[in-house]
Symmetry: C2
Subunit: 130 residues, 2 copies
DNA sequence: TATTGTTATACTCTATAACTATA
DNA sequence: TATAGTTATAGAGTATAACAATA
């Protein structure tokens, strides 16, 4: 088998698993991904550019995703303290709870693998993403 | 880091790499994925359902993707010899050449990893896709 | 001049449900 | 009755280019 084809398939399958498991949230795969990425950060805060880099999305895509998450009260846009061109994104209290739920569901799937396998896959994925 | 977030990121990054490397083909990521999956099969032939399962897409998505690939002369729809409800999809001669190019670009990326790493990742991805 | 984020536009992907033809 | 694939519709993701505000 070709690894990249398996990669695409696994991404589809895990995304489908997550959206089904978290269907009551009514969030799209990209919305789940964006909120989870934000929740996984040390301070749960990022600029739009940083979040775009983290999820592999373009600024134009981010705008729509963030609009919907903001409209649902899951995150807020704030001005950057030092650069007034930049927008900082921060989860609300409810957004943080939802992010924790998503990360928990992801961790549950991850537990199918041994810690050694997780580390090996992680290193390989970083190498492919270079 | 959360492995599933890295998985999403790697999928985006590799897809972006491939579409840039094969920009002259003018194919969308899903079209590349469908054609490569078809080319990776032993006989390069599949039903619409089989291809949908392979790329993690719904029948409704497949219809559009296959329409465009057919319109470009890269594949043909044929009746199934035994079940007249079923449609068999087969690359044309040009489609087979394009599929080979896509698979070659994928293999090139894959060569960044050792064969052992490829096998480890492959096993882990199958486990996550279950 | 260059960068951040948004808007405008057009195309592609996705999900749901309804439909046709066939089994 | 059930299944394979398509069509219809609406919402979401994507790329490109243009834009305003700021650096």
């Amino acid at each position: 088998m070709v690894l990249l084809l398996e990669l695409q398939r696994a991404t589809h399958a895990t995304l489908h698993h997550l959206t089904a498991h978290l269907a009551d949230l009514g969030l799209s795969p990209s919305e789940l991904n964006a909120l989870a990425n934000l929740g996984a950060r040390a301070d749960a805060v990022a600029t739009v550019s940083e979040l775009g880099a983290a999820i592999g999305g373009r600024p134009t895509t981010l705008t729509g995703i963030l609009d919907r998450l903001e409209q649902r009260g899951l995150l807020a846009r704030e001005p950057h303290p030092r650069d007034r061109r930049t927008v900082v994104v921060r989860p609300t209290a409810e957004g943080a709870r939802v992010a924790a739920r998503i990360l928990d569901a992801m961790a549950q799937l991850e537990r199918r693998l041994t810690p050694e396998a997780v580390e090996a896959v992680s290193a390989a994925l970083r190498e492919l993403s270079r």
